[in-house]
Each structure stands twice: as structure tokens, then as C-alpha cells.
């Protein structure tokens, strides 16, 4: 299997004031097509910096990063922007949707910056298709403030999918959601992964990481553990379990 993401002895050092901060120290990591990886670690472990590097938002100070076979360590701002647009889809903790802009237009946003020319009708069609994948086609005209947190995150996922990226990057995607909605969102991710989409997710919640296939644990800027998940949680089953538990609570009260 070809590696979609290949990090080779990647370092990231921040020069803040007089002290150098070594955020990432020599990480070597390969993620293959079709994987579903959770990068875990306490705050300060370097997992967010890793995410920024993988997401082409930041460049490594040292080492090489190959995205889809291309060395991106030395590309300039605009080239990185182009890569993010074509090859990466972002899902953030805080959803980061444009307010007072409909779900459909939020999903269309990445296509505004795509340099192969799509007609407005084609953009619309693709955006609606992406909303169908996350099950929100009927809410296309709603604005973010008319949607629940889970729905907003699903719109964000649709936005991340719309340019058919090589990798979907999720930075604490369930951080702002309650348990039930978190499981729903993980269900969406599992479904997408089943269809062959590579997903890399940063989280510090163990039970969320349990929905992925592979857990990479970081500490002090280094990878300390990299294991396949053995007893993977399946979102559908978890949801049923949650429903039963809820009903049980109702019966007892």
C-alpha cells in the first residue's frame, strides 16, 4: 500500500524569546491509503503541531514531509494553500463555519479557491452531494446558528469532503460535542473510512480514539506508541447502547 502521508525525521522548533521550544522532535510516521489514525497525547505533547504540519499549515524546521508522494517541506505559502485546497480536508473542534452563510455556501467555499474552473451549477451539485453524504441535504439552506452542534460539524465534514481530498484531517472534532453527538460524528467518519477515505484525527479522548483503526501516542514531541486498535468501537452499536441506557434511565425515574 502506498503511503499518503510520510513523515521522515520531522522536527519543529519554535524560537520564542530566548528559549527554543522543541515541539516535534524527530517524528517518522507513515500513514497508508485507507487508514483511520488517531494521534493522541496530553496538551503540549506536540500533537497539534504535528497536525499543523500534516495539514500543510506549517512547515517542518527539519526533516521531510511527503504528501501523496510529493515533498512539501519546502513549498511556499501559495503552493501550500493549493495543496490544502486539493488534497486535504479540515474538520476543526470549533466547526469554523462562516456565520450568516448557508450550509450549502459553506460547503461550496473550498471550490471558490479551486483553480480548475467549475461552473456555479457544478459547484452546487458537488456541494449538495457532499451534504447528502453527511445526511444534511435537507438543511442546505440553514445557517449555522439554525443547526445543532452535531449538524454544524457534519456541515464542516461535508466542506472538507467537497474537493475529494486525499486525506481528511480532524482536529479534536468531538471536543465541543456531547457524548451522543460525538458518537454520531464518529459514525460519519467510520462510514467515510469504510468507503476508502484516509482520516487522521487528533484527540485526547480514549473512547473517541477507540473508534479509529490505529492509535499514535505522542509525548514531548516524540511518538511513544503506535498500535493498531484491537477492539474497535463501532458507532452504530455504541449508539444503540446509548439509547438503551437512556431508556433505562427513563424507566427508573
Amino acid at each position: 500500500m502506498t503511503a499518503v502521508i510520510k513523515l521522515d525525521k520531522v522536527h519543529k522548533t519554535y524560537h520564542t524569546g530566548e528559549v527554543d521550544v522543541y515541539a516535534v522532535r524527530g517524528v517518522t510516521l507513515e500513514i497508508a491509503q485507507g487508514e483511520f489514525v488517531a494521534i493522541m497525547g496530553a496538551s503540549g505533547s506536540g500533537k497539534s503541531t504535528m497536525m499543523n504540519i500534516i495539514g500543510c499549515l506549517d512547515r517542518p524546521t527539519e526533516g521531510a514531509y511527503f504528501l501523496d508522494g510529493v515533498d512539501v517541506s519546502h513549498l511556499d505559502r501559495d503552493e501550500l494553500a493549493g495543496l490544502r485546497n486539493r488534497k486535504l480536508g479540515f474538520v476543526f473542534q470549533g466547526f469554523n463555519l462562516l456565520s450568516r452563510t448557508s450550509a450549502l455556501e459553506n460547503v461550496e467555499l473550498p471550490m471558490l479557491y479551486t483553480h480548475d474552473h467549475l461552473t456555479a451549477a457544478m459547484q452546487r451539485e458537488r456541494a449538495i452531494h457532499a451534504l447528502e453524504i453527511v445526511g444534511l441535504a435537507d438543511r442546505a439552506d440553514h445557517h449555522p446558528n439554525q443547526l445543532s452542534g452535531g449538524q454544524q460539524q457534519r456541515v464542516a465534514i461535508a466542506r472538507a469532503l467537497v474537493n475529494q481530498p486525499a486525506v481528511l484531517l480532524a482536529d479534536e472534532p468531538t471536543g465541543n460535542l456531547d457524548t451522543r453527538t460525538s458518537v454520531e460524528v464518529m459514525g460519519v467518519f467510520q462510514k467515510l473510512n469504510d468507503e476508502g477515505i484516509t482520516i487522521v484525527m487528533v484527540t485526547h479522548e480514549l473512547d473517541i480514539a477507540a473508534f479509529t483503526k490505529r492509535n499514535v501516542i505522542m509525548r514531548d514531541g516524540e511518538v511513544v506508541n503506535d498500535t493498531q486498535v484491537e477492539h474497535r468501537s463501532i458507532a452504530e452499536e455504541e449508539l444503540r447502547r446509548l439509547q438503551r441506557a437512556q431508556q433505562a434511565v427513563k424507566l427508573t425515574t
Partner: protein, 405 residues
């Protein structure tokens, strides 16, 4: 990114903060409105002066009696008394390229008719006077050479005098009295309006210059001579030839100053239009200051907007917007704001110029050039003052921008 999509985005962003956008645009609206109105007033004044200068006649050269200077005492204009009718006749006879000449004698007197009386200017002129001044008669006919030779008691009156003395009847054929001498009215002049000096040109009685000199003023010298040259190109040569001729006739040695003054129409026009041109420039400059203040307002609000929308900028960059896309987005927003303001300002400026003409009676002239210039200038203000905030937005780091609270 397509321009149409960027424009749509700009309009949406501006609509989102209607009050703020309106107030920001107001700076430009007032600025452009002021420029249009002020330049309109200046141009109006200029065109009025030009019209007044044109009312002097075509290719006119004026000879004024000069001053004398005796032991340091200077008499003032016309004091020399050395300009005489023969000078005027000599000019007509001897200077080439002169088509018409009219000696001019001025006096003020009380004019009586119909039991009414009116103090007005009496001009003694030659029969070619109206032709030189390009001044048609509303009714009647001009006096002739015969009237000049015969010092006839006839006159032509201006519209103002006609209205004052003969309010209800046709003045032609009537008689008016100047110093108890009856003059027969031969014709009434077409109204000409105000002169360059802001005097009423229609408040006048024209009589043959001989009649005025011999019968009323009892004098032998004249005030000035109006000369018409065949073309504007010949005017300068005509002026020099007249100067030579008069110096010779007045026996002025090489060390003596002229006892006359010659003014070409072009000089008069230049002197007066220069004033109104300076006024136009000054008014325009003052108004431009308010346009620049409006531009600073745009810059201010765009800076606030960039800060407020830092997160939005981060999102756009994360999904693949280049720095240039963000730059363009904010720049177009600033330009949209300033050009919309400019368009409304143009309407406002034209409106207030019209209002000023209507209420204050000032002539205004809004030229298409000033409208186009004001619009381009307002768009340029948007580019100039929008660039810095837009550049600031485009240089944001996507990671910091996404984290911005």
C-alpha cells in the same frame, strides 16, 4: 477566484453591517458630493465670466485715455485728456486689419421721460458700436454716420432704462430728456445682462458721441476707443500698430510714458478667468480634503473588519485561499464601499449644485469630466486606503488566524 464571486462576497459583507457600511460610505458621499458641487460652482462662475467677456464682442481692442504725471502728481485713469476723436479716426484710417472703430465718451446723468426719472450711464458712441459689441436691437434702428456728423438728438436705450422710463409703452419714437435736451428714442437694445465688472450693461443710453460731447458734456476729449480687429491672430499686431500711431500723434518722445492704455480682449479674459480658475481649484482642493478624510474612514473600518474577521480569514486560508485571494476580497470590499459612496455622492453633488443655483441664484456647471474624475478618484481612494488593511489580512498566518478568538 472569480471576480463575480468576490463581488458577491463583498456585497454580502457590506450588507452584514448596514449601518457601519452606510456611515463609512457617508464620508465618501460627502467628499464626492462636495467636490462635485464646489467644482460646479467654480465652473459656473468661470463660464459666467467667459460669457460676459464674450459679450464684449469679437476680437475687441480697447484704448483707454491714460494718466498724466506732473512732478510726481498722477492723475489717474483718463485724466490725461489727450485722447481725442481724431485719434480714433486715425486708427480706423491707418492701422491695417482694423475693421471697425467707435470713439467712446462716458457720462452719468439724470434721464427724464413720462414724468419718470432715472440716473443712468450715457454712452457716446459711433454707429459701429453695436456691431463691434455684437449687440442686437430688440426694436428700432441704430443711429448713423449722418447722426454723428449732425450731432443729432437721438438715442438708443438699454432694456433697464426702457423698463424704468417706458414701463407700459413702446419706447421707439418717444422722447426722453437729458439735461433738458430732448432726445428721440430710435431703438431698444436686446438685454445683455451683467458685465465682467458686475454692472448692469442694460442700464444705458447710447447717443452719437458728437451729440454727447457737444450738447451734454461740453468736452473735446474722449474716454476710450473700441477697436475691432479682423481676427484674433491680428489683435496683437493691431495693438502694437495703435501704440506706435498714438505715440506719434501725441508726440511722446522715447523717454515719455504712454498717455493711453491698450487692452486686448484676450488679456481681459485671462485676467478675469484666472480669478475664477483659482477659485475652482481652491474649492476643489478644500472638498478633496473631505474625500481624503472619507478615505481614512474606510481604512479605519476595514482594519476593524479585518480584525473582526480574522477567524474567517483563517478558515478561508485553511481551505486553500491564497494570500492574493484574501487581498482581493478585502480590496474589492473597500473599492465597492468607496465607489458606491462615489456614485451616491455624484448624485448628491449634482443635486446640491442644482439646489444652490435655484435657491442662491449662483450659476453652477457640473461638467461630465468632473463627474468622471470624482468617480475615479473615489475608486482610487478605495484602492489606496483599502490596500493596507487588505494586505494585513492577506499576510495573516492561517494557524494564528484559526486560533483567534
Amino acid at each position: 477566484m472569480r471576480i463575480s464571486a468576490t463581488l458577491r462576497m463583498a456585497f454580502r459583507a457590506l450588507r452584514r453591517n448596514k449601518l457601519r457600511s452606510t456611515l463609512t460610505a457617508l464620508g465618501i458621499i460627502i467628499g464626492v458630493g462636495a467636490v462635485i458641487a464646489m467644482v460646479g460652482i467654480g465652473n459656473g462662475a468661470k463660464s459666467q465670466v467667459e460669457a460676459q467677456i464674450a459679450s464684449l464682442g469679437q476680437n475687441v481692442v480697447l484704448i483707454f485715455a491714460g494718466n498724466w504725471n506732473s512732478g510726481g502728481v498722477r492723475s489717474g485713469w483718463g485724466g490725461a485728456g489727450t485722447l481725442v476723436v481724431d485719434d480714433a479716426l486715425a486708427v480706423a484710417r491707418e492701422v491695417p486689419a482694423v475693421t471697425c472703430v467707435s470713439p467712446e465718451v462716458r457720462d452719468r446723468d439724470q434721464v427724464l421721460a413720462n414724468g419718470q426719472n432715472w440716473n443712468t450711464q450715457i454712452l457716446g458712441e459711433g454707429p459701429d458700436y453695436l456691431q463691434i459689441r455684437d449687440w442686437p436691437l430688440d426694436s428700432g434702428a441704430m443711429f448713423t454716420d449722418q447722426d454723428v456728423r449732425g450731432t443729432t438728438k437721438v438715442c438708443i436705450i438699454g432694456k433697464t432704462v426702457a423698463n424704468q422710463l417706458f414701463p407700459d409703452e413702446d419706447p421707439v419714437g418717444q422722447t426722453l430728456r437729458i439735461r433738458d435736451i430732448p432726445f428721440k428714442v430710435l431703438g431698444v437694445l436686446h438685454p445683455k445682462g451683467l458685465s465682467v465688472m458686475n454692472t448692469d450693461q442694460d442700464d444705458v443710453v447710447l447717443v452719437p458721441y458728437t451729440s454727447l460731447m457737444k450738447r451734454i458734456s461740453k468736452r473735446t476729449n474722449i474716454n476710450s476707443v473700441i477697436v475691432q480687429s479682423s481676427s484674433s491672430a491680428a489683435a496683437l499686431q493691431v495693438q502694437m500698430a495703435i501704440s506706435d500711431l498714438l505715440r506719434q500723434r501725441h508726440r511722446l518722445g522715447p523717454n515719455r510714458d504712454d498717455d493711453f492704455t491698450i487692452r486686448g480682449q484676450q488679456e481681459i479674459a485671462d485676467a478675469f478667468t484666472a480669478t475664477s480658475r483659482i477659485m475652482t481649484v481652491l474649492l476643489g482642493a478644500i472638498a478633496s480634503v473631505s474625500l481624503i478624510v472619507g478615505g481614512i474612514g474606510i481604512m479605519n473600518i476595514m482594519l476593524v473588519s479585518v480584525t473582526e474577521r480574522t477567524r474567517e480569514i483563517g478558515i478561508r486560508m485553511a481551505v486553500g485561499a491564497h494570500g492574493s485571494d484574501i487581498l482581493l476580497q478585502f480590496l474589492i470590499e473597500a473599492i465597492t464601499l468607496s465607489s458606491l459612496g462615489g456614485m451616491i455622492g455624484i448624485a448628491l453633488g449634482i443635486g446640491s449644485a442644482k439646489l444652490l443655483s435655484a435657491l442662491a441664484g449662483w450659476p453652477t456647471l457640473v461638467s461630465p469630466t468632473s463627474v468622471v474624475l470624482a468617480f475615479l478618484f473615489s475608486a482610487a481612494v478605495g484602492v489606496f486606503f483599502g490596500f493596507y488593511p487588505a494586505r494585513k489580512a492577506s499576510n495573516l498566518d492561517p494557524i494564528d488566524a484559526l486560533r483567534y478568538e
